[in-house]
C-alpha cells in the first residue's frame, strides 16, 4: 500500500513517518510512535477513550487520519502529564477516586481539561453534559463530576 510522508509535532517534538493514508491518528500515535497512553475503545468515535488534542482542540483519534494531522501539533496524555498542564485534574481524580480501571482516564482527562479551559463556571449539570461524550464503565461518573467540580471550585477560589 502506498504511504505518505507525514510529520506531526507530537508533544512538542516533530515526528516523521511514512504512513498509509488509511492510518488513523490514534494508530499512528500508538503503533508508530509508541505512545500507548491514549486508548482504542470503539473505533467509531463514540467512547472518547482515544481523545487527543490537535492544535489545541480535542478530537477523537479514531476519527481522524494521521495524514490529516500532517504539520499539526498533537498533544497526548503523556505530553500533557509531563508539562504539568493536567496536574490539578490528575490530583483531583486521584483524591476522588474518579477512575477505576483507568482505561478511559486519559481521554476523560483531556475532555475535562477542555471543559476547565472553556467552561470555567460550569455547574454540576453542565459538567455532566460536557463530559457525556466520554464513556466510563467503572465509576458511574459521580466521582468524575466531583473531581472536575473540585478543580473548577479551586480555580474560582484562587
Amino acid at each position: 500500500m502506498d504511504t505518505i510522508e507525514t510529520t506531526i509535532i507530537v508533544n512538542g517534538t516533530p515526528v516523521t513517518r511514512r504512513v498509509a493514508p488509511r492510518r488513523h491518528l490514534i494508530d499512528f500515535l500508538r503503533e508508530d510512535v509508541g505512545l500507548t497512553g491514549s486508548h482504542v475503545g470503539c473505533e467509531h468515535g463514540v467512547c472518547g477513550a482515544c481523545t487527543v488534542r490537535v492544535d489545541g482542540e480535542i478530537v477523537r483519534g479514531c476519527l481522524m487520519l494521521a495524514v490529516q494531522a500532517n504539520g499539526r501539533k498533537v498533544d497526548t496524555i503523556e505530553g500533557l502529564s509531563d508539562s504539568g498542564e493536567l496536574a490539578a485534574l490528575q490530583q483531583a481524580f486521584h483524591q476522588h477516586n474518579a477512575l477505576q480501571c483507568g482505561f478511559c482516564t486519559p481521554g476523560m482527562l483531556l475532555a475535562a481539561q477542555d471543559l476547565v479551559r472553556t467552561h470555567p463556571a460550569a455547574s454540576r449539570e453542565e459538567i455532566r453534559a460536557f463530559m457525556s461524550g466520554n464513556y466510563c464503565r467503572c465509576t458511574g461518573y459521580h466521582a468524575i463530576v466531583d473531581a472536575v467540580e473540585a478543580v473548577l471550585d479551586a480555580r474560582r477560589a484562587a
Partner: protein
Amino acid sequence: MNARAELPLHAPGTQTDKGYIGQSVPRPNAKRMLQGRGSFVDDLRLPRLAHVVFFRSPYAHARLRRLDLSQAARQPGVVACFDGRAVAEYCKPWVAVLAHLKGIKSAPQYAIAIERACWQGEAVAAIVAESREQGEDALAHVAAEWEELPAVTDMEDALSNRYVIHPELGDNICFKREVDTGGVDEAFAKADLVVEDTFGFGRHTGVCLETRSILADYNAAEHSLTVYHATQAPHMMQDIFSRHLGIPEANVRVICKDVGGSYGIKVHVYPDEMATAAISVMLRRPVKFVADRMESFLTDIHAREHRAKVRLACTRDGRILAFDLDDLTAIGPYSVYPRTSGIEGNQVVNLTGGPYRHQQYRARLHVVFTNKNVTCQYRAVGHPIAVALTEGIVELAARKLGIDPVEFRRRNLIPDDAYPYSFPSGIKFERLSHHKSLDKLLELMDYPALRAEQAALRARGVHRGIGFAALIEVTGPSPAFYGVGGARISAQDGATLRLEPTGMITCMCSVTEQGQGTEGIFAQIAASAVGVTMEKVRVLTGDTGVTPYGGGTWASRGAAIGGEAVLQAGRALRSNILDVAAAILGLDKAELDIVANEVVNKLTLEPKLPLAELGRIAYFRPDTLPPKFQSELTVTRHYTPREYGFSFTNGIHASYVEVDVDTGFVRLLKHWAVDDSGTVINPMLVDEQVRGGVVQGIGAALFEECVYDENGQLLNGTMADYLVPMSGEMPDIVVGHVETPTRQSELGAKGAGEAGTAGAPGAVMNAINDALAPLGARVTVQPFTPERILKALGKV
C-alpha cells in the same frame, strides 16, 4: 494516622487503633493510569509479534459446506491461515458442566468451530498476519459456502424442542432445577391476597472499555507458554491453557497487567482466545488477539435474558406467606467454560424472596440453548433478576393492600436479631442488617419530604416516582460455588509479604486488580498489620509466576478472602520482624512493637530500631546475630472461607425518577444505596464500587439490550446503537454504610462489588411504576425504553 495496629480489628469491646483500615486512602496504583502509563495487553510490544483475526459466521446457525483459505493465505503480510480442524490438533475441546448442577449438559465446544456455526459471530477460521490491518484485509479473501440451518432464537421456542440445536443432547434444555419447601399451595390457598406478574429482562453485556485482549508467547525450546492476558483469574487460565494445549502447568505463566474493566466478562474461557494461544504454539512465535468493538458485542458473554413469572401470597395485614417462581432463561448454544451458564438461573432460584421471612417457597428454572451469543456470569450474576422479581412483586402487593412500601418491607424483612438464619431456598445467612440498613436509607433520603414533593408535583401534572429494592448479595464464596462441582477454580487465596532490606514491604497476592482498588486495600491492610506507613508498601498481583496460588477476582471475593490472607501474612511478618528485633536488641519480644516503620518499646513507644536498620542487619550482617538465629522475613498465608458457603451481605436502594408521559423518557433524579459489606476497609472505594455498580444496573433498567432479530442477527453491535449510561443521564448517587463484620475472618470484610448492580434495576423499575400507577400503567420488561413506557400508557 498510623499508630499502633493491634488486631483483631473490630473485635467487640476493643478500642484499638485500626491503622489504615476504615480510611479513604487514594489508591497508590491509580497514578500511572492518570498519566497514561498503565500497561494493558495491547500496549505490549514483542519481537516477531503476529496478529490474529477471525473469520466469523454471518449466520446464527449454518453448516459450513466449504471453506477455502487459499486466496487469503496469499495476501500481503499473511503468515498463516487455520480452520477449526487445524487448531483442534493443538487445543482440545471442552464441555462446560459442573457436578453440583445436577443434570446440566452442553455440547463439545472447539476453539474454532468445525463444520457448523451456532451463533452469529462464532469464529470458523483464523488468519495470522504481520499486522492486524493485513489480517483484516485478508479476511475479505476467505471463500465460504454456507448452508443455513434453522435458528432457534426465542426462549419458548427453544423450550418446545421444535428444533433441537445439538441433536446428540436430545433436547434444548441445558439445565433445570426445582425447589419446593412444601406447603406452597396451602399458603396460596389461605392467603388474603395473591399477586402475580411476569417480568422480562433484556439480554445485555459488559461493554468493557478495553476489549478482550490476549498475547500468547510460546517458547519452543522450553515447551513453555507465557500469556499476557486481560483476565480476572490468572491461575484458572494457567490450568486451562495447560490442560487444553497439552503443556505442563508449571510451564505456563499467565501475566495479567492492567485490565480495562472486566465485571465478570473477563473470567471465562473464550474460544478465540484459546485459538490465539494454540496458534502461538503452532507458529512458535508471539501472537496477539484484541477484539474489536463489533467482535465484543458478538462474542463477549451476554447475560440476563430471562422471562419469569412470580407469585406472592400474603395476609391482609401485609405478611408475606410464600413466593412461587417460574424462570426461563436462554444461554446461547453452549454452556460457557468452565463456570457454566447454569449459575445465573441457579442464583435467581437461590435469591428470589431473599430479604424476607416467609417460609414457603417454590421455584422452577429452565435454562435453554438458543442460536444467539453465549451468556454467562456478568457482574451481580442473577441478583438483578432476583431482586427485580422480588421487589417488583412486593411493591405490587403493598400497593394492592394500600400499605406504604416501606412499611410493607418493615413487616417482612428478616429481623436483625434472627441470625444465623436459613432461607427456604437452602442458603444460610450468618448475620444481616436489613432493618438497620432501611433506617439508614430513610435517614439519607428524607422519605416523608420526597413523598410530599411527589404529591405536590403530581397535582401539577409532573409524574415522579419513588421505588425501593432490598437485596441480599452473594460474596466471598467458599468452594461451594465451583470447586465442589469439579471445576479447578480456587476458592482460597494467598498473600506473601516480604520485608525488604530497606524496610519496605512487598506484598504479593493472588487476587487481581481491574480497578476496584484491590491493590490499594491490600496496601492498607499490609501497612496496618505490619506497622508501617503506606508508602512503604508495594503490591504485586496478576502473575502466576510470582504470587501465591489463588482464585483471582470474581463474586466479590477480593477484599473478603484476599484481604484476610494479607492480614494474616502481615501479622505473621510483624511477629517475625519482632523476633529479629529481639535478637538484635537483646530484649524480650513481648516488650516490642512496630509503629510507623520503627521497632518501639510497646509501652512507652520509645523508638528502638528503624525497620531499615533491622533489614540491613538481617540481610547483610546476620553474622552479628546469635549463632542459631535465622531471620524469616518473607511469610505466606492463605485463607479459605469454609463455615458458610457464601458470605452474604445485604443492602437497600431507593430511586427517585420523573417520567415524561408524553415522550416516555425517564429522568433519574437521585439514587440512594445503603450497603452492608462488613468491615469497610476504604469507604471511598466501597462507595465507588457501589456507584459504578448502580450505574451498570441503571443501564440494564433503561438502556442496554443486545437486540436480535428472529434470524438471530444482532441488530445493535456498535456503541452508537447499543446504548450505555453516559454522565449526562446519570443521577448523583448517595451511598451509606452499615457495618456488620463477618465473624468468619478476623478482618470482617465481606464483598461490595455487586450490590449496586443487584439493586438498581429493581429500584428504578419500582420508581417508574410508582410514577405510572395513578395513570393505570405498569412496566415489567427491561429495559424500560420510552417506547415501552408509551405502550404501557396506551399512547402508541
